[in-house]
Amino acid sequence: MSIIQAKNIYKVYNETHVPVHALNGVDLEIEKGEFTAIVGPSGSGKTTLLNIIGGLDLPTEGDIFIEGTNLKTLSSRQLIDFRLHNIGFVFQAYNLIPVLTALENTEFILELQGVSKKEREKRAMEILKTVDIADKRDHKPGQLSGGQQQRVAVARALVSQPKYIIADEPTANLDSKSTEELLTLMKKMNEKFQTTFVFATHDQRVMDKARRIITIEDGKAVKDETFER
């Protein structure tokens, strides 16, 4: 069964003034354990699609199902709760909480979920070890390099074992070495935990690792390729 099902998705911004058609009827299915990149030129609609898949935005038309739940039927509060328990996020600008340490940033989602302090500390430390950044547990984001911050962001996304992880241009601010390390890490997590990753990217290095590449142009999915990697 598909984890993510997008059916005939349309997204129009500024409907009342000068409408911008960001998505024009996208159909998409993503299975559990996929390592998928959504690619396309700037303004093609890939970030809009990622936002809709991530429950950050809702389609103007069409439906988005996550394991059978139609996100359009959820209230604003239910949607926030849904994101908290089902989706992990990795952002281009890392977006860690600057005043918290690496460990606290990783624990943060678990705390929002109401996990006990002992349990969340244990799980956060485990995942920090897995992403090989445990020695920086007491460092704040400002004391970490871009690559290290992105590792913490990945740890934060993974720690609650979400159904899938949305990563919007995760390598855009990283140098080649950090990019390679991060992609290797994500691939490892994908294989180890069967975590589904969906990227929006124009980074060729990400595309080279992806097993499926969906190309978006002018708000439509124009190409859907799979690779054995």
Partner: protein
């Protein structure tokens, strides 16, 4: 963790937070010390009025209050005095003979109130003896001694040992005069009182105007604590209910005798809080501005928190906590400094010697001893918290309006 984030967020922009801490602190220091000054001034006036002028409670014949004539005595005064002395809250009771008349010297004359007092009992009721700046208070053995206010002495150009001629009506209504020797000169903070009052021995005055020594037209009662005044008045009302109902006596507390002073005390309380609220309202705008800036600077961060699944209630609480921390730190600094300033001036007083003549003419002392109640400190702190909560609403609502999908792409 919400507490930790809110607390640590405060220190992200130390300069901006410090400006707010200082603003709140200065506002509170300004409000509390001003209130301390004004309360001290009014309290001193109240204390002085009770100690030197009206005591806590007075009992009169109602007709005396209407006509101010010596003949309207308090019925059964001696008996009443001994009954009142039995009340535990009572410090002292003085039966006085109070008469209005004229004082004259070789050079000038003035309208005065002559207070005939029993020295031993008066010392427990009035602090005039402590305000004698030249000579002594009425001594038991001296013949026809008088203690006059400094202002009156200057007006009549009299000094210690000089004779003051007092003219007044006797018991038969005939004008009579007596010469008293000035044994002491007093000075209180109230020039008007000093200019219009002469203290003499009650036995001397009674003899001069033809009354026995055991009668009086005023019973002055001094209590150990002014707080007990309403309770003792109530007790006296019950004790003397018959005389009150038959209009033979009237019992008045100091605030009934000097209603202006009473309303001043009440107004002082009112203005203290009004003053504090105005300052806090002004500070609220600074707090709102700071928190709005903080929210705008952190648009992307708040968007990220929303994206990750932090619900609106928690976002609101985060902004609220941060605002409360910001305000409370400023409040504690302000309260701490205020306590020190008020404590200093409560002990050493705030010297206003340069304005002494003006202040004294209104009955105020030239050295103001600050006073701020613990209640006022506490209410100031509570008010800061309330202002912080109110101030956090606008920035918090702004934060809640953010859309995570757009907020996380903000470049600010």
């Amino acid at each position: 963790m919400l507490l930790a984030i809110a607390w640590r967020n405060l220190w992200r922009n130390k300069l901006r937070s410090s400006v707010i801490f200082i603003s709140i602190a200065v506002g509170i220091i300004g409000a509390i010390t001003s209130v301390g000054f004004m309360s001290g001034m009014v309290d001193q006036r109240e204390d002085a009025a009770i100690a030197n002028e009206v005591s806590n409670i007075q009992i009169h014949n109602p007709k005396f209050l209407l006509n101010d004539e010596a003949q309207y005595m308090v019925p059964g005064a001696a008996q009443k005095v001994s009954e009142i002395e039995q009340i535990p809250q009572v410090k002292g009771v003085s039966l006085r003979l109070k008469v209005t008349g004229m004082a004259a010297s070789a050079n000038a004359g003035a309208g005065i109130t002559i207070r005939g007092v029993n020295v031993a009992s008066e010392l427990k009721v009035s602090d005039i003896n402590q305000n004698v700046i030249e000579g002594t208070y009425l001594t038991q053995n001296a013949r026809f001694p008088a203690v006059v206010g400094q202002k009156l002495a200057h007006k009549l150009d009299l000094g210690l040992g000089d004779k003051i001629i007092i003219t007044l009506s006797d018991s038969s209504g005939t004008i009579t005069s007596g010469a008293f020797q000035i044994e002491g000169i007093f000075k209180t903070a109230n020039d008007q009182f000093d200019e219009s009052n002469v203290f003499v021995k009650k036995s001397d005055l009674a003899k001069l105007i033809g009354y026995p020594n055991n009668v009086g037209n005023e019973i002055a009662i001094r209590l150990n604590s002014n707080m007990d005044t309403p309770m003792v008045v109530n007790k006296l009302d019950k004790m003397m209910v018959g005389d009150i109902h038959s209009d033979k006596i009237i019992i008045q507390s100091w605030d009934q005798i000097q209603p202006l002073l009473k309303s001043m005390v009440e107004m002082m309380d009112y203005f203290s809080y009004l003053f504090l609220i105005i300052i806090m309202a002004a500070l609220a705008f600074a707090i709102i501005n700071t928190m709005l800036m903080a929210v705008m600077e952190r648009t992307r961060e708040i968007g990220m928190l929303m994206a990750l699944g932090m619900n609106k209630r928690k976002i609101f609480n985060l902004i609220l906590l941060e605002t409360i921390f910001l305000s409370i730190i400023g409040a504690f600094i302000g309260l701490g400094v205020s306590v020190l300033v008020v404590h200093h001036y409560a002990i050493y007083g705030f010297d206003l010697t340069n304005a002494a003549s003006g202040l004294n003419s209104f009955g105020y002392s030239a050295r103001i001893f600050f006073r701020v109640s613990n209640e006022f400190y506490f209410i100031s702190l509570i008010l800061v918290v309330i202002i912080a909560i109110i101030s956090s609403i606008s920035p918090a609502l702004k934060a809640l309006k953010l859309q995570p999908a757009t907020a996380i792409r903000e470049n600010i």
